[in-house]
Amino acid sequence: MLLAVHGLTKWFGSVKAVRGIDFGVAKGEIVAHVGPNGAGKTTCFNIVAGAMRPSAGTVRLDGIDVTNQPPEEMAARGLARTFQIMRPMAGMTVLENALIGPLARGLAMADARGEAYRALERAGLEDKAESPAGLLTLPERKMLELARALSTAPRLLLLDEVMASLRPAEADRIVALLQDLRAEGLTILLIEHVMRVVMSLADRIVVMHHGEKIAEGTPADIAANRTVIDNYLGRRGAQ
C-alpha cells in the first residue's frame, strides 16, 4: 500500500467527525471516497494531507508513519492535493501559481518554469499563463487547482470534488486527464459526488456516512450493496 490509514479519529469539540476509519490506496490505484455532506470525507483528506491533526489513528505513506507531519512535509514526500473551495493565488499569474510547486521542490528557476508550463499544458491552461489567476473562470480555476497539484510531481494525488459544478463536457476532460495520469502510474485518491464519474474512474470505492466507513469495494460491489443504496445512492444514483 502506498497510503495506509488506520483507526483515524477526529473530534471537533464534542463532535466526532471521523470515527476510527481504516482505508488504503495501492500504488497506481484510483480510490474514491463517497458519502453525503458531513460524512467526514474532507476531514479525512485534510488529515492525510497534514492540514489537520487527527485525534487518534495513524497515516502511513510507503510504510513510513507520517501522522502529524505538516502539509509542506507531505508535499515533499510526494503528496499533492486540491482544495474543495478553490484557492487560486489571485494576485499572481497562472504561471506563477504553477511555479510554486517546482520551486519548492528545489528546482532551478529555468527548470521550474518548464515544469510549470508542462503542468499548465496538461490542464489546458498554457494560453492563460500570463493572466492573473484571479481573473480565471470557474472551470479554469478547477483546472488551475489540478495543474498546481501536478506541478509538484506527486506520487499520490488527493482530489477534493474537482468535478463539482462543472458541465459534463468539462468533467469529461478531467476524467480523461485522470485516466492518462493513472496510465502513467500516478496514484489518486478522490472525493466525488458525481457517481457517473466515480463509477467509471475508480478502482475501489469507500463509502462514508456519519464519520464511519460503511462499505468498501469495487464499483460493481458498491452498486450492488443495499445499505449504500439506501443511504446514499438511493437518491443520487437515480440521476
Partner: protein, 333 residues
Amino acid sequence: MVRRERKRTGRPRGVVAATAFFCALFLVPHLLDDAWVAVLTLVLFFAFVGQAWNLMMGHVGLLSLGHALFLGIGGYTTAVLLQDYGMTPWIGIPAGALVAAMVGAGIAWLGFRFSVRGVYFALLTIAFAEFFRILFSNWPLIGGTGGYFLRVVPEDNVPLLSLRGGADHFYYLFFVLFLVGLIVSARLVRGRIGMFWSAIREDEDAARALGVRSFRLKVLVVAVSAAMTACGGGAFALMNGSLFPNTLMGMQMSIQIILAPIIGGLGTLFGPFVGAVFVVLVLEFSRDLGQTAGVYGLSTLIYGLTVLGVILYMPEGIWPRLVRLAQPLRRDR
C-alpha cells in the same frame, strides 16, 4: 503588482528612467542647499525603513505596527558600541542588525508558533514594541528616558570610517542604504524566496500544500525586515547624535514608518520612496503653513486630511497610480 513592475523596468524606457532617477538622487547635494539635503535625507530614511517594513506587509502580508522597536534596537546597539566600547559603526550597525534580526525572529517564532494571525499579530508587534520601549525607558545603562548622547564628532573625523559627518555625508549614507535596501529587496522579492512569500501572502494553506515551508520563510522575512530597519536605526542614531526611547521607539515612530509605504503603494519596490517623498513634503509644507498662519495644530490637521484623501481616493497607493498614468494603454486589469 511585483510582476508588473518587473516588466516595466525590464524595458529600455524603464531602465533609462530608473538610471536617470538614481543619477538625480546622487547629484542632489550638488544641486540643492543643505536644508533640502537634510529634508531629503529624511525622505531616504523613511523610504529605506518603509521598504524594510514593506517586505513584511507588502510581500508577505504580515502587518507589523511595532517596527520602531527594531529602529530602537539598531540605534541603541550602534550608539552604545560606539560610545562605550569604541567600536566603529561599521561593526556597530551590522551588530545592531544582527540583534534586531534575532529579536524579530524570536517574536515571529513565538507569534507563528502560537499561530497568532491578522489583527492579533499586529497587536502582538505593538505589545512587544511598547514592552521594550518601557524597558529601555527604565534601563539605567543606556540612560533610560534621560536619553543616550553621542560625543561630538572629533576634528580629525574621517566620515568614511566614523560614518558621521555633515549634511552631505548623511545624505549619501542614507542614499547608499536606500540603494542597498532596494537591491536586496528586489533580489529577494523577484527570486525564489519572493515567489514563496507571495504565495504565502496570497494563501498560506495552499502554499504549504505545494511544499512551501511557510513557517521558516515567515520568520525569515521578519528577521530580514528587522535587520534592515535596525540598519536604518543605527544610521539615524549617528545622524541625530542622541537617542530617546520615547521618540525613537514610540508608537508615533511606528506609524511614521508605515505611512510612506502604504501611501506610496504596498508591495511595490518604488512605493516606499514615492510615499516618503509625499509624506515628508506634506509635513514640511503643512508645518511652514502652520507657522506662517500662526495657527498651531493646522499642520497636523492638513497632514491628517491629506492622508485621509490618499487612502480614500488612492487606496492602492500613489506609485501604482503613477505607473498606470504613465502607461494608459496597458490593460492587464
